[in-house]
Subunit: 281 residues, 4 copies
């Protein structure tokens, strides 16, 4: 066959499997989103439409990959947690990483007009992505706590900062100077005394970020389970060891799932204790 | 600082530098494009608008990354060649891979309406990506030869196949059966005798694929070099060793470049001999 | 400095850290030990002297690296388990892997005359090595169970096989034929009825392999803890997170340890429940 | 089969192939050889017996692996260059790395009494090892130049240093102080004027290190090629592409080789131009 003498170049493709039995966390981050938010006049300190668009893109990723059980988003980033036992694409790193990043990007651009109908996109925005492996459930919890703590720190800062600028009449340089070295309580005090903002009244979306969690619908006694809204997904669960391929698993059970959007605390135990399936196999 | 007790989770991010002194080839591939082409009624065997859209996305990638010197596209895939000495993102694999895949995807969705104005995109399309390292110029040439030979094989097959279906009235099953086991010359003969198609008359875009090549504009004697069309890019060239960071290079020369679109043969020597800079440092 | 223009070649050395928070198992395997055992007339089916030499080499490795808490050996192989939180050589793979393999090899050759004083070594024997990461304690237990089950299977086969050859007068070809397809109970029956061997009377070393376990000596109330035999080691324990370097840990406690040799079952729970420190941090 | 329920743990072993088409350089380094040389009273500044022992161990490695075409040693280290097209162990990194390091170690311990017959080895010495990939012949040359430049720098320093100590009566602290900041010419001058040492009279082994090079014996017209000394090896050469397995190569030619020990310059062109096979496929 023509071309066969060149086909040896395929031998330079090296395998890149991710270690079995570990949790994959894949995070996408906006590329140069500072500029994107400037050029499209995002509302400060938070633009709800832009955040809802991020949630939409994340939901599209989760609809495509049933082995993603949890996602957390803030600002221009989203982190996805895969089931520990996932065998998606045989755990090939580049394949998983690029496909998720691409779907997220595509959905973001595709759905932009739904969320910012009066703000035409001026150029194509993009994201980078990375996968980090976590061996234990504790490390996974700490990862998500790290991101939510980051959300809190950034949002607290940004809320006072933009109050100083938009309501207090400071320049951005002055506002940064005003806030330099202030601790959390000082910022709360400043918001309340100068601008009448009670931080806890601020939308939980801004304070806690967005949590998308895949919930399982308890299997019903056979009959009349109807697909309902089309938003219900099916996940194949197997009882097999974490490294086996789905093919070899004997008893698969179809579990119907849906995706819930939350803006709650996930640093404490409550969130995880109420959803033990997230960190099980 | 709040959150600092969780920050140790960053230690699980492992370095992933690509071997210096090697050519990176990054290929993006359409994810489920068979379905995409069906749902949006792409013309068979080739849809020129869709191919032009691919070229546009590839050009956007090359405009973003000046160290990409060559790209080759066919069907739903595009391959990008980086200069051997590139230090883009310190050669971090995931960063390069995801950023390029994301920009390509974003541009594809963003520019869709320009090329298929009467065909609204029904859902967000996506791509996967991979990076393969080639140590030698010879292997790089063979890689691109492999892809162009593949273009030829596929296009020849698809051209006869769709002639049999669209003009010859065969079902797709019949057409596959008709072609089973036929060699190249038989297909040429069949096209000509039954459908009056002279294969060499077919658009070189379909027969040879799309080649985007970064060309250098010879530096002019100082003055009045004008930016002209805005399509001219600048690349920093350094004479340093292949592993050094740009910072340490002493004599940088700004080289102005533009991107040329070709549909010519790249398997023979001529293409490469005329553009020796593609495979130099 | 002379040579500095060549030093850039160091940039081709890529980092190879092992994922934090996982158990490392490092296994060394004899290279062509079939020939070695032939050339040096090892006793069949087991040569106690050669096995003791393996144990000695493994013990030397454990004396060098306090973060190895357990080792299991059979035939010409030995597996070493590192504490999950080890930061030995910053978890650099090649460094750990080659140093352990080299020390094991060196000790084996160095101590050969102690165990086989009348059998001069005819040529230098060697070993290969590999590191496998296990994310969970359960997988680590199953790894060691896998090796001990292998010990049992091989020893049972070899014991009957060599009884057939050495006592039964069969050729090795005949003996393999006699055993083909036999199950475990048949082999036990054959040993007992034809050769009077009660398998459970065979030395536990041959049936169970060699287990080297690092045991901690409870810290005594300050004073007069004497080094005793010189076989007691000290390990620095820290309570820090699994990815921190020892330097940053604040409260280090020196724990004195010694290495115990066992030939017992490690597939059941008892072994592990009695030594919970093996699978803790 | 007993044990099969544990065998899934093998799935945690990940592939580690080295990029095809690149030169592998494997370097072994003595582990704590400062102490080894102290404890065994190595002659200062160079111990010829210990260096010959290193050469012997390197030669044993090259006799085992015919795809090693060159080795360079100095002090307690040795670097091995594999043919670019080697498919040894399918280019699996850990397998190649540990086997070579182990054979080197084993030979060093095994042959110690031949070179230092009156100095019993007090404990087992060890080495670590690493593999670095070089994509181009130029980088390979620069790697070896880097090591030989290092040999020169170290030997020049050590020669004056020990002359100051052993002949000049300085303490080691004084000698270091005397040499601080001196350039090469000053050291030459100091050696000659104070101790009558003409540096160029010093053994080339110390000044240039040890080069072991595999030389090919031109194939003779069939008949009477006699094996001679047993030191002649045979290498299978194939004309196939660099990624093919030996099995698939059609025309193999047995090439007889021997290993030559040199202490000459390899920084200049002469060495390489006289031995073009070292850097060919």
């Amino acid at each position: 066959m023509a071309g066969s003498k060149f086909a040896y170049v395929k031998n330079f493709e090296l395998p890149d499997p991710l270690l079995p039995g570990t949790f994959m966390v894949l995070r996408v981050d906006g590329h140069a989103f500072h500029r994107l938010s400037e050029e499209h006049n995002f509302t400060k300190p938070n633009d709800e439409r832009a955040l809802q668009l991020m949630d939409h893109a994340a939901r599209d990723v989760m609809n495509e990959f049933k082995d993603i059980v949890l996602a957390f988003g803030e600002s221009d980033e989203f982190s996805f947690l895969f089931r520990k036992s996932t065998t998606l694409y045989n755990r090939r790193q580049a394949k998983i990483l690029t496909t998720v990043t691409s779907i997220f990007t595509s959905s973001y651009v595709y759905n932009w007009p739904k969320y910012l109908p009066n703000t035409p996109l001026k150029y194509p925005p993009s994201f980078d992505g990375r996968i980090v492996l976590y061996p234990s459930a504790k490390d996974v919890r700490n990862y998500f706590s790290w991101r939510q703590a980051d959300t809190h720190i950034n949002n607290l800062y940004n809320t006072v900062f933009w109050a100083l600028v938009l309501q207090g009449g400071e320049t951005t340089t002055q506002a940064h100077a005003t806030l330099r070295g202030t601790v959390s309580s000082t910022k709360h005090e400043m918001m309340f005394s100068r601008f009448g903002i009670n931080y806890t009244d601020i939308s939980p979306r801004y304070r806690k970020g967005s949590i998308l969690v895949r919930m399982e619908i308890p299997p019903e006694p056979e009959a009349d389970v109807e697909p309902a809204s089309g938003k219900i997904s099916e996940v194949i669960e197997s009882g097999a060891d974490p490294t086996s391929k789905p093919k070899t698993a004997k008893k698969n059970v179809k579990i119907r799932t849906f995706i819930e959007l939350l803006h709650c605390d996930l640093i404490g135990d409550e969130f995880w204790e109420a959803r033990p399936h997230l960190l099980s196999e």
